[in-house]
Amino acid sequence: MDTNKELNQAVAELMKSGDRQALAEMIVEYIQPNHITIDFVSMLLNSRSLKPGDSLVKKLRKGLEVHTLVPGSIHLAHEITVSDRVNYVLDGSDVKATWNEWEMENGEIGTVDEIRTEMMAKLKDHWQNKVFTALSTVWTAVNTPSNFINVGGAITATALEDAIDRINETTGGVRAVVGSRAAMTPITKFGAFWSDTSGTKTAVSDPAVEEIRQTGMLGRYYGTSLVTLNQIYDNLEDYQPLIPTDKILVIGENVGEFVTFGDVKTKQYSDMRPTPPQWFMELWQQYSLMIWNAQGLYVIGGLS
């Protein structure tokens, strides 16, 4: 009740002062669209910021060789050799919004700051989706048979341990196992217990069982950290999940690189031809990405 009273007083003061802009900002309550708050891009890819003029070529210099010393001889030299690759096809993302100035004044569509924030978030979402698309495109039974499994159901101990074994072999070790809560929770069914090979003796980790009982999650398994992500839905109307629920990622190393090319550019202007004028705001940035070490990641896919 007190809150309502304060709100009514504030609204009344704004109406009295004639500040319609402030009033509009106050009385319009939005259910804002949601965005992915986990930075998937940097989780999987190194990132660099390039400027126009920077090289888009990667070069590798191979090592030198050592020969036996034969005193008095002219020893073999090795000319320095370089192997190079042209890596990046520059790409760009653009988000542009427009609204009538009356709509802004009456608060129908929110404030300029809110919309700019939303636009920046959409750019980031777009790049995160690039990563998700890459995950489904690159890591398949055909492309990466040693780094992919299609489970076809809930995660199993065998699938998870095989994935961790593989990443321990191909990289410096597993940094994290990452997935949505729906995909990761079944690990709690087998992660807190230990059976010998005959299956007749089972050891139970009391702290792990207690952790599962309290949180529904398990923090570590098979020597690795488990990171459980809570699902986010885009908005209350479409209600589409933003984090894939059909895969768990076993991450060993960054598998590639995401480069931005120049800064996020912006422009805003008002088209004065219509009356009231039409407002435009636009953000854009150039970027590129490449998966150049697919074996640094294991995808446990086909989860349901």
Partner: protein, 185 residues
């Protein structure tokens, strides 16, 4: 091609074949994709192959803008992905490519490769060099109505109206063969 006056429509498109800058194109679908899904939200552009397509070829095509350092290479070699450190695939350098010392968009009559971004200009005034249209004596007359050819080797070239769909009209003909035309709304 020279842009003299453009209107509100400058569409980003994807070429579905090699197209000489300055040709008239219509919108279509395409299968190009880049960097895991880019370009898929952009319409394709094609040279008209029928009277119906010619009638809706109301866009003149040119190169997209580019801020890479010169010289430019076309095509630009790249890897989609590699299993191991980026070096387990056959080298993509050295490579064979067309080298541009000046951005092709500020030159005239060069060919836009297939499957890349390009700009489709709608209503406005544009000047194309000789060879970008089908000559007839009446094309030198301002106000002459123009349609788009849809048969080889003139696909996408403007020509004097002959029972097709009128998409443009002559603004000025230059003695050196350049033609300024206005794409109609």
């Amino acid at each position: 091609m020279e842009i003299n006056h453009y209107g509100d429509t400058i569409l980003g498109v994807v070429t579905t074949s090699e197209i000489v800058e300055g040709r008239m194109v219509c919108l279509t679908s395409h299968t190009a994709s880049r960097d895991y899904g880019s370009l898929t939200d952009v319409p394709g552009a094609k040279l008209p192959a029928s009277a119906a397509e010619a009638a809706r070829s109301r866009y003149v095509i040119t190169f997209e803008q580019d801020n890479r350092s010169l010289p430019l290479y076309q095509p630009q070699p790249a890897f989609d992905w590699a299993l191991r450190y980026g070096w387990d695939q056959a080298a993509n350098a050295p490579f064979s490519a067309t080298v541009y010392l000046t951005h092709p968009g500020v030159q005239e009559g060069l060919t836009i490769p297939s499957g890349v971004g390009a700009l489709a200009f709608g209503e406005g005034l544009y000047t194309v060099p000789s060879g970008c249209y089908v000559y007839a004596a009446t094309i030198e007359v301002p106000g002459t109505q123009l349609e788009v050819a849809f048969t080889d080797p003139d696909k996408g070239k403007l020509q004097v109206y002959n029972a097709g769909g009128i998409v443009a009209e002559v603004h000025r003909y230059y003695s050196d063969g350049r033609l300024t035309f206005k794409i109609l709304h």
